[in-house]
Symmetry: C2
Subunit: 344 residues, 2 copies
Amino acid sequence: MSESRTEISSLGEFGLIEHLTKNIEFQNASTILGVGDDAAVIDHFGKQTVITTDMLIEGVHFDLMYTPLKHLGYKSVVVNVSDIYAMNATPAQITMSIAISNRFSVEALDEFYDGVYAACEEYGVDLIGGDTTSSPKGLVISVTALGEVTPDTYVKRSGAQLHDLICVTGYLGGAYLGLLLLEREKKIFLETKGVQPDLEDRSYIIGRMLKPEARKDIIEFFDKVQLVPTSMMDISDGLSSEVLHICKQSNTGAVLYEEKIPIHPDTKEFAYKLEIDPTACALSGGEDYELLFTISQNDYEKIKEINGISVIGYIAEEKEGATIITKGGNKHKLVAQGWNAFSK
Amino acid sequence: MSESRTEISSLGEFGLIEHLTKNIEFQNASTILGVGDDAAVIDHFGKQTVITTDMLIEGVHFDLMYTPLKHLGYKSVVVNVSDIYAMNATPAQITMSIAISNRFSVEALDEFYDGVYAACEEYGVDLIGGDTTSSPKGLVISVTALGEVTPDTYVKRSGAQLHDLICVTGYLGGAYLGLLLLEREKKIFLETKGVQPDLEDRSYIIGRMLKPEARKDIIEFFDKVQLVPTSMMDISDGLSSEVLHICKQSNTGAVLYEEKIPIHPDTKEFAYKLEIDPTACALSGGEDYELLFTISQNDYEKIKEINGISVIGYIAEEKEGATIITKGGNKHKLVAQGWNAFSK
């Protein structure tokens, strides 16, 4: 990183936007007009558009003490394209709005946008607009993503049917343990100035927190084997909360098996070191950005050969509620934790 | 307004979203799926989509000391649909993201959303999604609007041609004087507690600031008389700044006539009272949300009978730059002021 510091005020609003967007090259034929007018224009060619938006607030969703700006830019895009994939759609465009204070230099913003553009390239999306404004304090990021889907092949949360298999991709709980590690080292650093953070070579869980990926590969796989899940969503708030969403919106219950929940060895090891239950991290820790979906039992053959998809339970009747059967054979009700930002 | 106060934490995130969105009824056939899933879905029926986004930050774009929340909700939608109209398109959907701190009650949010829904009804748009999150301090609003346009009839900033007529809608400068009045009364109130604000019955300029409208009527008129402007944008930063945008993006110059710039009598009167030049308010004051557009001289007949459209000058050669001819016959270069949020 260069040591020079260019004040944002030296460019002005329009100079800054030009600086940040000058190298954009469109990757999608549907992108007709991008940054630089009152609005962008996109075409559709007989597709439907899927749209989602997420806001990230400094001090609520990220901590710049341990989050590199480039990673933050990347993740801001990923969390949105993940929602597009969760509809069984393909992301195509994003808008990126940021509010920044004077403490950010042009070089710092360049780092952030390096991450944004890296994610755009990885997921094949075009940055087509946004708003750049000042903030009295704290960084605010608001992203809207648009995706394309063949008419009426999008997948909602509300389509799960009795006896469907409940599946998840990848491993769960890692991002939450990465957060715990980063928070622990931050606390030590603040209490004992000069002590360098000891991240114990735990790059897996830290990577899960700071640089998550969205499951583009799974959506491509669904298309390849002609599989349409009956319901789907991404796992941003923890598995329990998401399974309860599917159940509520599909008017069903669910049974999960603890032993089937995929947890990475590195996640397990660090959880045991902290003396917390890895399963609890998977159920209630958020930010994994894996996909949770249900399929008809008839489609089981299509997924069983695939690495990275785990069947963790089945859809039950609504009156049975959502439960988990522990390794010891006990049955517990699923409880949503997660969002309590407004609680004291 | 009810005097009860319901804490946001008593509803939780999903309860809050349900509370705020439970009465939504779609107004557009293109809106297929709205709030409540990972993303919304929209159809197109052979149209192109126009998309824009704006972020509003407390302490930068609005002051809650004199901005009623209902007006703020309304204006948050208006500033975005105004950008859609400025593309010669029809707004159809919005997403609304807000970050709020604990100091807001559910009742306060209801007021804000009353304004959002009133604007949605006025402009025929559907609220289809968003994000509701917490803020450590200050209210942040981020809106994305989508509009529809018959393929390739959108109007960019870059199409102005030599000798085109430069036109504006409505009156300019009023919103800026409304802001000056509100800021003056705020200062007096803070310095002398208990003194009631004296808004001098100046409802016109205050209304221009607190409850602007977007020019839906003009776009409908263009459609009716089959007029497609050669370039267009909305006036959010002041006339000078916007004319310079058109000139830069169209590679032209411009000549404006001071005497042709439309300024409302109430705006003039208050400007004279403050001993400031009303023309300067029109040129450099922002937030009028009128439309600036250029038309071929051949189209003059189509607009000349219409109340509310003023021809204020013409497009000149690029080398002449952008100038204004004063009432006294002097020629001055146009200078963009406006955005200096990052300057000290």
